[in-house]
Symmetry: C2
């Protein structure tokens, strides 16, 4: 059964559960994880009424009508630096020298910029008026004690880290990352480093998917290459079920005699999700679930494996991780060059491209699904219009960032 | 001296040298590095004429005029699987059963799809004609032996890894990553985990920049917090020069008494690049070079530090790494909501926002440069139009992805 891409995504995601296993981590180790708890503020942020600039803490009303020609003169009662604390109270006619980030002393309700004064030490001349509550950051202005500041389910990126750190958080409970296994197949495929015998080729699929998982922050926990042996593959999947959250295989999904993956699903009595996808490249992409473990069996053609990992595999990872940021981001862009396309293709076709400010370009070189070199410089997949106009350039296309 | 953003970038980049130190790495460890050598193909890719599908290797001319009603019958001389090799020669009237990825036997010049035959074992009925060189992947079609397949200076992402792996490469010479030191200042700043005494706040700047460096693939090699002590800071920078490729500090760049960074530059006799940038937030961003080491002194205001790290710091990192992918990516998008802006601001203003398919949204919450919580969910900086129309929504703005 051939399904549309959206149906394939739906079937996969319906059969994948979010990971609920959690782990406590020091804040520094939380980067790249998803928060498994609400984080509440234990303090106001800022924890005190704060000066946003260097100047003098004053009572705003005291400065009314001040000008360079007719300055207000205030007595300077003291000085407060960031990190310090002024224990007195500002009363009418007085001021406290204050630095950026320091707590505004009691009594004061505004800060006059240093540049609008004579920077006096014992007495200060104020050249401009400042309204009450001007240049005055309230305690809790950023967030308040008791408030949920970061919600459960939030992906912890650098911005989240900054917020958690500002709140004094030292430990977070996060969801474990999925355990992803990558198994390449193919009697012809050998790892780099071995001599290249006739009929053999060097692996690129396992390398791509393993590297991509690392880039996406979900490094593979298991890597293997298995020859075209259905029993051995079935045994390995059995062994991994319950340990792996997601198994990705490459190769052996077509109609040839050694295309073992459909037989593997039979041997395992697995629940098939789909057998083919209406996509070019990689239409023989096949998926099944064995013992609650989703298995995405990608094409052995490098670009078939790549495109379907990006389009389908990342959706599964996003669901497992509860992190929609793992999905491909879709944008619209103007196609800046063109490619002669064969007529009468009904499958949705994705080409390797690169995005620039002006629009999107189809990569040069060989676009066959067996070719890997056109991955160089590619940063997106371009969905080609299904009914191609004569001149494809300047058409607005869907672009998926990789 | 206040400079425009572009001038600040130019001054920084002119005073930063690309890192030329190289290191040999196993291919697996090369991910995320920049290649310091041209990589040539040692073999053709594919290394042999290859079948792109499951079927029969034939002489195309033999199949001319074949149809279901009037099939051509060919003698099947043998079978070749991917990874195998057929040692005979296909002659007129004969065929070899062939699987996807297998070498096309000598003599054959095309492959007929299995679906267009009766899948016969000793003799096969061919139901459709196939032209010579149809379904035939030439050796070297992807890339040829001796060709430079990946150029020096290429960033090694998963796509590059796939190409290198397909070529059997096991080791690469890459540029070392820059050694970046991050030093936060501020007597008021304490690390999470310490009790919050009056006047103190928890660090968020060092956490943000350290996390961001990790996200950008250039983890910090040195982290420190220094109190507002110019001599101590100068001594630390002296100690780091020659070891660090780039020093980023936060805080102490304004006009207050404890704003030590300008004094530090004096003490070191460093070459000042600029003292302020025409940007909001973080205009007091200051930069100098000491002993060939660039120092970017960011604002202590969290959002001031964040925005200028993204806008200026990443340019320095990109130059050091020879990887333009580290720079912020600029796109244009429609602003979908609005924010009341004060009149008469001449500085270029950047707001925290989030990109969606339809356009870009200014984040909710407190946008003051001292506020950190509006970083939550932000994935871009939005450059606000300098002369704001009354209704900002639907205006096309420059957006910088973070």
């Amino acid at each position: 059964m051939t399904v549309e891409i959206e149906e394939a995504v739906k079937l996969l995601c319906e059969n994948v559960d979010e990971i609920k296993r959690t782990v406590k981590a020091g804040l520094k180790d939380g980067l790249g994880y998803v928060l498994a708890e609400d984080i509440c503020a234990v303090y106001d942020q800022p924890p005190f009424n704060r000066s946003p600039l260097d100047g003098y803490a004053v009572i705003g009303e005291d400065t009314a009508g001040s000008s360079f020609e007719d300055p207000t003169v205030l007595k300077v009662m003291g000085k407060v630096y960031a990190g310090g604390y002024f224990d007195g109270t500002v009363t009418s006619g007085s001021a406290v020298r204050i630095m950026t980030g320091a707590p505004v002393p009691k009594g004061a309700n505004a800060v006059i910029k240093q540049e609008d004064t004579d920077s006096g030490e014992d007495f200060v001349k104020i050249y401009k008026s400042v309204s009450p509550w001007q240049n005055y950051c309230y305690a809790g202005e950023d967030y308040k004690k008791g408030e949920v500041i970061v919600k459960k389910g939030t992906y912890i990126n650098a911005g989240t880290m900054a917020v958690l750190s500002s709140a004094g958080i030292t430990e977070v409970t996060v969801y474990e990352k999925p355990r992803v296994a990558v198994i390449s197949t193919g009697d012809e495929v050998i790892p780099p480093g071995q001599p290249l015998m006739p009929g053999k080729i060097y692996d690129s699929n396992q390398t791509y998917i393993n590297s991509r998982l690392t880039e996406l922050g979900v490094p593979a926990f298991y890597l293997e290459h298995i020859e075209d042996n259905a029993e051995k593959m079935a045994k390995t999947i059995k062994k991994l079920s319950g340990r792996a959250d997601f198994i990705i295989t490459t190769g052996a999904v077509s109609v040839g005699e050694k295309d073992i993956m459909h037989k593997v699903a039979c041997l395992l009595g697995a629940k098939e999700l789909f057998q083919r996808v209406n996509i070019k490249p990689g239409s023989p992409t096949f998926a099944f679930v064995y013992d609650n473990t989703p298995v995405l069996a990608l094409s052995g053609n490098p670009y078939g494996a790549i495109a379907n990992f990006e389009i389908l595999g990342r959706e599964v990872l996003a669901k497992l991780c509860q992190n929609s940021g793992i999905k491909m981001r879709k944008v619209k862009a103007e196609l800046k060059n063109t490619l002669k396309m064969k007529e009468g293709k009904s499958a949705r076709r994705f080409l390797r491209g690169r995005m620039e400010e002006a629009g999107v370009y189809i990569n040069e070189g060989n676009h066959s699904s067996g070719a890997v070199s056109s991955m160089l410089g590619a940063d997106c997949l371009i969905e080609m219009p299904q009914k191609a106009p004569c001149d494809l350039s300047k058409v607005i296309v869907n672009v998926y960032e990789i």
